[in-house]
Subunit: 595 residues, 2 copies
Amino acid sequence: MPRLRLALAQSNPVLRDLEGNSRQVVDTVRQAAEQGADLVAFGEMAISGYPIEDLAMRPSFLAAAHERVELLAGELAAAGLGDIPVIVGHPDGPFEPRLLGTSNAPTAIAQNAASVLQGGRVVARYAKHHLPNYSVFDEYRIFIPGDELLILRLRGIDVALIICEDLWRDGGPVGRVLHADAGLLVVINGSPYERDKDEVRLPLVTRRAIETDTIVAYVNLVGGQDDLVFDGDSVVVDRDGGILARAPQFEPHLLLVDLEPEAATDAPLADDIRRVELTAGGPDGSPDAGTGGAPAGASGGEKPAIALDVAELPDDRQQIWNALVLALRDYVEKNRFPSVILGLSGGIDSAVCAAIAADAIGPERVFGVSMPSRYSSDHSRSDADDLAERIGLNFRTEAIADLVLPFETQLGLTDIAAENLQARARGVILMGLSNQEGHLVLTTGNKSELAVGYSTIYGDSVGGFAPLKDVPKLLVWELARWRNAFADERGETAPIPENSISKPPSAELRPDQTDQDSLPEYAELDAILEAYINGGASIAEIVDSGFDRGTVERITTLVDRAEWKRRQSAIGPKISRTAFGRDRRLPITYRPTSV
Amino acid sequence: MPRLRLALAQSNPVLRDLEGNSRQVVDTVRQAAEQGADLVAFGEMAISGYPIEDLAMRPSFLAAAHERVELLAGELAAAGLGDIPVIVGHPDGPFEPRLLGTSNAPTAIAQNAASVLQGGRVVARYAKHHLPNYSVFDEYRIFIPGDELLILRLRGIDVALIICEDLWRDGGPVGRVLHADAGLLVVINGSPYERDKDEVRLPLVTRRAIETDTIVAYVNLVGGQDDLVFDGDSVVVDRDGGILARAPQFEPHLLLVDLEPEAATDAPLADDIRRVELTAGGPDGSPDAGTGGAPAGASGGEKPAIALDVAELPDDRQQIWNALVLALRDYVEKNRFPSVILGLSGGIDSAVCAAIAADAIGPERVFGVSMPSRYSSDHSRSDADDLAERIGLNFRTEAIADLVLPFETQLGLTDIAAENLQARARGVILMGLSNQEGHLVLTTGNKSELAVGYSTIYGDSVGGFAPLKDVPKLLVWELARWRNAFADERGETAPIPENSISKPPSAELRPDQTDQDSLPEYAELDAILEAYINGGASIAEIVDSGFDRGTVERITTLVDRAEWKRRQSAIGPKISRTAFGRDRRLPITYRPTSV
């Protein structure tokens, strides 16, 4: 059988930074070449970052990306890397708009493309067929689908090339891979992390390998991009479904693997399959010996074998923690914030946010502010102080009593208006310090609170990034316990004060207030939210599953009415199937009905 | 030729209010019956309101809408209105999810449907074929397309029924109408207002009438729904392209028209066209005499002829003003706010917002607050006072000096941080009064400001609704002048002080500040924004069209970086092709490149 040393480049591009991402490609291909790679594949849109959203509508951006890929081919050759075929994902265009009749509406002018670079030129190009248009994806809106399957012949091996969603759909390109009798299927992906996603993704890759009787090489992006976190987890699966190589999650990685795919045959191809002959690069430098099962790569047999590289997935809580840390780090670094600031209430949410921030960018770049009011308990200050000390972050106290009183007196505010005033004074403090000192403000609300609108708009909801936006309250506690145990195992200081975990949660906007004055127990709340939002269950169905009707009606009404608050909430990492805002579009104006 | 009295019901549904919208249908059909209508057609999704967004993913909502339509058929019959065929738009489902391979993603389970109700039953149903997925529309994401054309045979006339986007696309249902030899094409629509849209919409209807050789009856919704404003403007066009009837814009209307469509023939139909026989209702009560060109409706000839009803479109500025007024009114009324509150700076934006609010809900429900600082000019107070008096709104003054000073001193804020503090103190005042007294807060920023982020986040951007969100600064001035002239013509008090129109705009956050300290002249700014955002032009192209490179680079960078502010901005009516937020999705995290 022919042999091929494949390199999967799990890279972390910066969106729209065509130059920087191209430099990343050259550097990575150089590393791959040093390790004797015969073929290098990068993720979906590795040249532009992903998702580019409505930038796909800008002709000048598409033209720049197109030109950048041509230039990159030349740059690789100039760097002495022209022999190795390199697959990169990028937006391509501008093309003639897809016809939408006479509506004269803005229509797609771009394709989601993969180009194959070799010898200083773009030698082949593939356009994604299946454009996902669900959940966080809007691709059918912005891209023109491709309709041709591409086969690269390299070292006597037929390599089929597809992009992300193409792998998920039955029929289409995947259906034709078997027909084309390819030996290797390379899939370049921009597949965001979701909790338990590896339970869907790996079985899919495995199934496709068996169905198509090819080795499947799945390369994914890594990194945070606004609400999305790409987790990497690139993998190569043999045609019997066994894992040959797997990259670690949540970090850039160059995954090398020696493969022995089935040799190419000269069976005729269908009209919509295009085959492109690549020359064989690598240390032997000999051109491809052709087809017929001859061991074309055999002359490269003197390469020392590459070590097995199969990363293990950490457990669920660690995966989530890593996702939250990477999302925050990339939001801070890619947007070039020097530091972050957040209010420390002594409660669990702000404690977990602070710990995530410290893990992401180091405690010296994290600024915590305790902002006690006349209603703040002693423990709210001491727990915040304890947290700051455990983590080693920058800490200051700004009491709000003297700031709140003038507003309260001048405007005559009482009850809920007076309660919200305290939260808003804290928002003004954090934004003032942000403007003065340059910090990114973190808002610490969790997914359960956001779902029911249990926050003060322009108060505790103030901030540019929300680390816990997609983390329900019960999971916040779970993560806190996990993180402390993780520290204990390593003999490090547990970052989160035990008291912040164990005490009853409270907004402390009036004396002796607790969250459960307004909300059911969080276990009950989170279960109702899961059923109503993620499960799409009706009120009747939730009641039938064992919850009190009054509670269900109250909570679902809060959820519906909180949509306008969620529309005004900050960016935050998505870790579950259904977050808010990013993949949910709901009306604000309506009269409720109980369905 | 057979005759038909058609009623187009241009109604204003409330989203999700299935019961209330159904009562509206019964009441309107009763009025139509009293005027001898033979067929009544309502707009797209008139039963649910439109657009329903991701409610289309909720099985229980779809089931409720489906059942509501069945019940409505019975209610019409019970009200003695069962004889008249009634066409209503609604979401239908839940259906089996559209297949998306193994991705296990939430997929469409709904159709965008039109049901024909007669004799207490749903006698026919059509599902929209073409699902728009551009601009403000996400229908391909949430609906399953239909694939069958429906012909209703009534009084010897073949009536084809399609939905909105079906009319805009060449081929598809429209292409088959001609083949089916229909006499009348009824199109039910949810077509939002855009500036100059009638210059696209009416020519389209005219062209389709001529192409298909049918009378085309186009019925649209009216009313505000979050960012969208449906303008009505329902129209009936003869097969030679002449206007037979036209409803006024921006108000509910029942448009009646006597038609003489071509008689149905017995030509065979293609497989994908379904014909349903309706019985003839109306005063004669005789069943349809059948086909063959016999004047089936002749026995109804004793009806007195209906008066010609052809509304004229007002001029451009008045259309925009009406759109902004209706959008605000419906947002307030449908969400049941008692009143609105806004800061009155003496400047043009807040003055125009106040005038719109007074036109929308009456001055007695509008609350203005002057919030002078130490930097406020005398005219900012006197102009606000003058405005309040002209409009007759509720007015109060809350000076901010004593509220700002404690923050500034305690936190040591200077420069931009101190400037923003003033805007945030005003935001806290408005939100405090909103919480205390129940008002909806209006944020008064215009489209030009929002585009470049020339506002203080959590400061002057505070508010639940932004009347000028899609109105560029030059147009704000134009509307102010137009509204004053409109008052003058009627001998009414011009609402907007001349000084607010003529003085140079300023945020007044430091001494002698004007907007042009930070921005180019608004004429230049608006032209650059139009080219960059609406026109999709590159920086090079804008410079080539005659602008200074430094200015263009500065402004386009501001636009790019303001995306995160826009993500956090309030709902506001869309009046142009490209607004912000509602139909633009752009990344926040990126490194800029000049394209």
